[in-house]
């Protein structure tokens, strides 16, 4: 499958071209093409299609673009490589297929990396997310000395051993695209086809928002409000999960893992905003991360009580 794409002799012309090729490649491998999650997250891993779906015994295969926000990385759109808002491409397949490395290399060919000319390397990199209570083993993948992806076999999420194990691929889209397109500053990168009637660069789309968010993230965001919202999200998450599994209105068994997880994501992003405002001290940091992790753990507990998490009616006894 990958080979067919690789023989395509037209190199990608734009950022979106690379995204489209990845979509088409992974669709060709049988992944469900999901859409970005509709909430602010720090990385593609936070999408419930990865975090929650990596739990339990149900097979899963999905791929999606996820806009990701890291408020502390904002540089007013001036740094050639750093952005507070950027895109990740995420693939999650459970159980991890035996040829996942080959599938991955096929995706690089699909986006125009010629395996005969480049040096691709799998360099040890163990992944750990303290906020999600998750870890896995794998590599960062290097192309000519540049990290182009994270490749991880999930071992634990939300404190649960993953069984079967999911294989996760994360592509940092801007960096990868800049390399393939030969662009030195992210803002100069063509977003659509440079030959289009209205050609747009990445800067045309995002320069202004990078400025606006950088100012808000660093100097304006009301920390009292953020702090209050953090506490509200935390409280709501726990309240949702405190409900009985049996819905009194419908008489159905409904465990609200996803609504609770939304609150966990919210708390995580609010923590990132507070961090960017510089109001969290080194010692407090650990405490906040621990609070988000506690929520993630509760959501994982709830998810494995749902059908998608592998629960069956037999489990009730």
């Amino acid at each position: 499958m990958g080979k067919a794409m690789a023989t395509s002799d037209t190199r990608p012309k734009s950022f979106q071209d690379i995204i489209l090729r990845l979509q088409s490649y992974w669709a060709g491998q049988g992944c469900a093409m999901l859409q970005p999650y509709d909430m602010e997250v720090g990385a593609g891993t936070f999408h419930p299609a990865t975090t929650l779906r990596s739990l339990g015994s149900q097979p899963w295969a999905a791929a999606y673009v996820q806009p990701s926000r890291r408020p502390t990385d904002g540089r007013y759109g001036e740094n050639p490589n750093r952005l507070q808002h950027y895109y990740q491409y995420q693939v999650l397949i459970k159980p991890s297929p035996p040829n996942l490395q080959d599938l991955y290399l096929g995706s690089l060919e699909a986006i125009g990396i010629d395996m005969e000319l480049h040096d691709i390397r799998f360099v040890e990199d163990d992944w750990e997310s303290p906020t999600l209570g998750a870890w896995g083993l794998g590599w960062e993948v290097w192309c000519d000395g540049m990290e182009v992806s994270q490749f991880t076999y999930f071992q634990q999420v939300g404190g649960y051993d993953c069984h079967p194990v999911s294989g996760e691929l994360t592509y940092g889209l801007e960096r990868l695209a800049m390399y393939i397109l030969g662009v030195d500053h992210v803002m100069d990168m063509p977003f659509n086809d440079p030959g289009a009637p209205i050609p747009l660069t990445y800067g045309d789309v995002f320069k202004q928002t990078e400025e606006e968010y950088a100012r808000w993230n660093f100097d304006v965001a009301n920390t009292d409000v953020l702090l209050k919202q953090f506490e509200e999200a935390e409280e709501e998450c726990r309240k949702i999960l405190d409900q009985t599994h049996l819905d009194p209105k419908t008489g159905k068994r409904i465990v609200m893992a996803h609504p609770a997880y939304d609150q966990c994501i919210k708390a995580s992003h609010l923590f990132n905003l507070l961090d960017a405002r510089g109001v969290i001290s080194v010692t407090e940091r650990q405490a906040y991360i621990g609070r988000v992790r506690a929520l993630a753990k509760l959501c994982a507990d709830a998810f494995v009580q749902t059908r998608a998490g592998g629960w069956t009616d037999g489990d009730a006894a």
Binding site: P80, N81, P95, S96, P97, P98, Q101, M115, E116, L117, H118, D119, I120, R121, F122, V123, E124, D126, G136, L137, G138, W139, C143, D144, G145, M146, Y153, Q155, C162, H163, P164, V165, G167, Y179, V282, T283
Partner: protein, 741 residues
């Protein structure tokens, strides 16, 4: 005799784990084979990023038959005993043999085991090895439960001899052993079969895989050196990096690239660190300028464009990295040139330890102590204080934030622009030393003063809050700090009264812990002055107590009560570390103990000189015999003192001496004492020991000729007092009662 070839083929194994894993495989398999009776002639362990390989030569075809005779219970013993014996032997009752012995008829079991074919044993041993493999971190994958460092894809396991090769039948969670493997992932995809080790190694090389890590490393090093040499440059040696890079490639291709001109003026250590840590590049230096001008990267493949695309990509990544480093360097220089106030200010907000205050407070304490130590190490006190205040400023710099391993070194680079003299610059990098037992010890006086003050402040601080190392737990590396002080003192031949330094610094900590504000400062100043004037801790406390009244007095009483104990305890810790250090240098622990018992034992240089002299003395015949003589005197004396209930220290009188040998001993003691006292004052321990040695013959002769416990009580008492004089004379040199033997 057949040879065995095993290859465990997986996804990429972390470079740092490969060598250890290959060795573990060899040990687990060969131990298992030998245990089962399969001996072999030789074994070799090899590895690449994707495989662990074990080649065993000259293996037995089958394990030998064994025959073991085991003696059992007596005939007619209870059934329970006999059944137990049968279970252990794996036999039934009718297989037992009854034999007559002098103790009556006894059952014997004859256990015969047939040898087993090698393949059967290998399969069991290899499966056990794979399932219990000691990876530092292992993982599961897919839907399986097997654990390996990364997914395990295939197992090659063949026995081969002149007649051909055969696969050892083995199936681990669906992975069946076979006789095939894969070559280079990109340059030679596809599987191929092999018939033995030589065939395997040859075919792998043809498939673009160099099997031996040493061969890959040698190849990389030779190629990189040639590339550098051809341009009149030299490769910067980095063995750790070489081993790592050799574990990242199966087919190393060395490429040398340029560093853009704008980055070359950066400090070489910055370039080197950034390139090594982020990119795993070797540095290439211009020997004429000492600057790093090029880099070497090692690719894992050949390409049609001879690496041009790969090199261009690496160069681009490097430029982005170095642009960051240059940005940090320029920002830092601006701060330094403005006097670096911003760094020092920000250190005032960084917590060092929640009980020991901020980095800023710590630096001020170190500065005061460094100033106090300076005169004893030949440094200018003002310069030492200045150096101590600067030494940790770079912890706030952007470069050190990015590369913590450059701490100290950046302080050295930024010192000049911040207006500090070269002594201060050097102290910034040297004051962390020595870090390990083989690390260089600084000798520049200002560096020594700051290095000592830094370590002593840390030690006294953690002693003041009672967080000492226990067992294997030493989270603040206090043992290393104490060893650092010991080496600084001994290597520089310093004469320091550690006791007083402990007291002064413990006091600073104690007051900071319990009090704050203006009162503390006034108090500290007075104490400092007092200690500087008198150098005596008790007197300092007394003076300050008199100076203040009310609550402060009570507070200081508390300090006075606890502090000397803490100080003594810390000195004991130093003595323990010193013993470990000297033991490694071959000094006997009892010899050290004999010297530790003497006054002035906080002067480590004196202590060691004394121990060395005593050790040398005791290894001579005179020393050994004198020791026996002194011990004999002490024993007789101790018995007599216990029996009589008095201490014989009144002083012997020559006029009661009867025998010639007794008179001679009086004379010898007079001579020895006359020599020992000035020798000890001059710290000429060798001379003092020699004077002691001269006592040997007279003491021996005395014991030979004279009966101590005579009926004449006056003579007896006089002789006991003479023994006491021997004890006291020798005690002036060392406490010989602690020496063993």
């Amino acid at each position: 005799m057949p040879d065995l070839l095993i290859e465990l083929f997986s996804e990429e194994i972390p470079a740092r784990m490969q060598k250890r894993a290959a060795d573990d495989l060899k040990k687990l398999v060969t131990d298992g084979l030998v245990e089962a009776g399969l001996t072999y002639a030789g074994a070799a362990a090899l590895s690449t990023p994707r495989r662990l390989t074990l080649a065993i030569e000259g293996l037995l075809e089958k394990s030998p038959d064994t025959r073991e005779e085991r003696k059992g219970p007596k005939a007619g013993a209870p059934d329970k005993a006999i059944d137990g014996f049968l279970r252990g032997a794996g036999l039934t009752r009718d297989q037992l043999e009854e034999r007559d012995t002098p103790k009556g008829p006894v059952y014997f079991a004859l256990i015969e085991k047939k040898g087993r074919p090698a393949a059967e044993i290998i399969a069991e041993v290899l499966e056990a090895a794979i399932r219990s493999f000691p990876w530092p971190k292992a993982m599961r994958w897919g839907a399986g439960s097997l654990r390996w460092v990364r997914p395990l894809h295939s197992i090659l396991c063949i026995l081969s001899d002149e007649t051909g090769a055969s696969v050892v039948p083995l199936d681990i969670d669906g992975i069946k052993a076979g006789d095939t493997t894969e070559g280079h992932r990109f340059m030679a995809p596809g599987r191929f079969a092999v018939t033995g080790f030589a065939d395997y190694e040859t075919k792998l090389k043809a498939a673009r895989v160099i099997l031996s890590p040493e061969e890959r490393a040698d190849h990389i090093w030779a190629e990189a050196q040639n590339a550098a040499f051809a341009q009149g440059l030299e490769l910067v040696e980095d063995k750790g990096l070489l081993a790592e890079v050799a574990g990242l490639v199966e087919w190393p291709v060395v490429l040398m690239g340029d560093i853009a001109d704008e980055f070359i003026p950066l400090p070489p250590e910055v370039l080197q660190t950034s390139m090594r840590e982020h990119q795993k590049f070797f540095s290439v230096k211009n020997p004429k300028t000492g600057l790093i001008e090029k880099f070497v990267t090692v690719a894992n493949r050949e390409t049609a464009d001879h690496g041009a695309t790969i090199l261009a990509g690496n160069q681009k990544v490097l430029s982005a990295r170095l642009a960051d480093a240059k940005f940090f360097w320029e920002n830092d220089l601006r701060v330094a040139e403005a006097g670096a106030e911003a760094w020092l200010d920000s250190l005032a907000n960084v917590t060092f330890h929640n009980k020991l205050g901020t980095q800023g407070e710590r630096i001020e304490r170190i500065a005061q102590l460094a100033g106090a130590i300076a005169p004893s190490v030949g440094a200018d006190p003002d310069l030492a204080t200045q150096a101590a205040r600067w030494a940790k400023a770079d912890l706030s710099s952007e470069m050190v934030y990015e590369f913590p391993e450059l701490q100290g070194l950046m302080g050295k680079y930024y010192a000049g622009p911040a207006g500090h003299p070269v002594e201060v610059a050097n102290a910034a990098v040297e004051h962390y030393s020595p870090l390990g037992p083989s690390d260089d010890v600084p000798s520049a006086p200002v560096s020594v003063a700051v290095a000592l003050a830094d370590k002593l402040d840390t030690l006294t601080g953690f002693w003041a809050i009672d967080e000492k190392p226990t067992g294997s737990k030493d989270p603040f590396a206090l043992r290393r700090a104490a060893l650092g002080v010991i080496r600084l003192v001994l290597d520089n031949d310093l004469r320091l009264a550690l006791d007083q330094l402990f007291d002064a610094q413990l006091l600073r900590h104690q007051i900071a812990l319990d009090d704050d504000g203006a009162v503390r400062n006034a108090l500290l100043r007075d104490l400092d002055n007092e200690i500087a004037d008198h150098g005596v801790f008790g007197a300092a406390i007394r003076t300050v107590l008199d100076h203040f009244d009310g609550d402060l007095s009570k507070h200081l009483e508390k300090v006075k009560d606890s502090l000397p104990d803490t100080s003594r305890d810390l000195l004991g810790f130093f003595h323990d570390r010193l013993k470990v250090y000297l033991r490694d240098k071959g000094v006997r622990h009892d010899v050290i103990d004999a010297c530790l018992a003497m006054p002035g034992n906080d002067d480590l240089t004196l202590l060691v000189k004394r121990a060395e002299a005593l050790g040398a003395f005791l290894s001579t015949d005179d020393g050994e015999n004198l020791l026996q003589g002194v011990k004999r005197s002490s024993n007789i004396l101790a018995q007599a003192e216990e029996k009589d209930g008095v201490e014989y220290s009144y002083g012997a009188d020559l006029k009661f001496a009867e025998a010639d040998e007794e008179k001679a001993l009086f004379a010898a003691l007079d001579t020895a004492e006359a020599a020992i006292k000035p020798a000890m004052e001059a710290e000429d321990f060798a001379a003092a020991m020699q004077a002691m040695a001269n006592l040997r013959a007279p003491i021996d002769a005395f014991f030979e000729a004279v009966q101590i416990n005579t009926d004449n009580q006056v003579v007896r008492r006089n002789r006991l007092n003479l023994l006491s004089r021997i004890r006291m004379t020798c005690a002036g040199v060392a406490d010989l009662s602690r020496v063993e033997g």
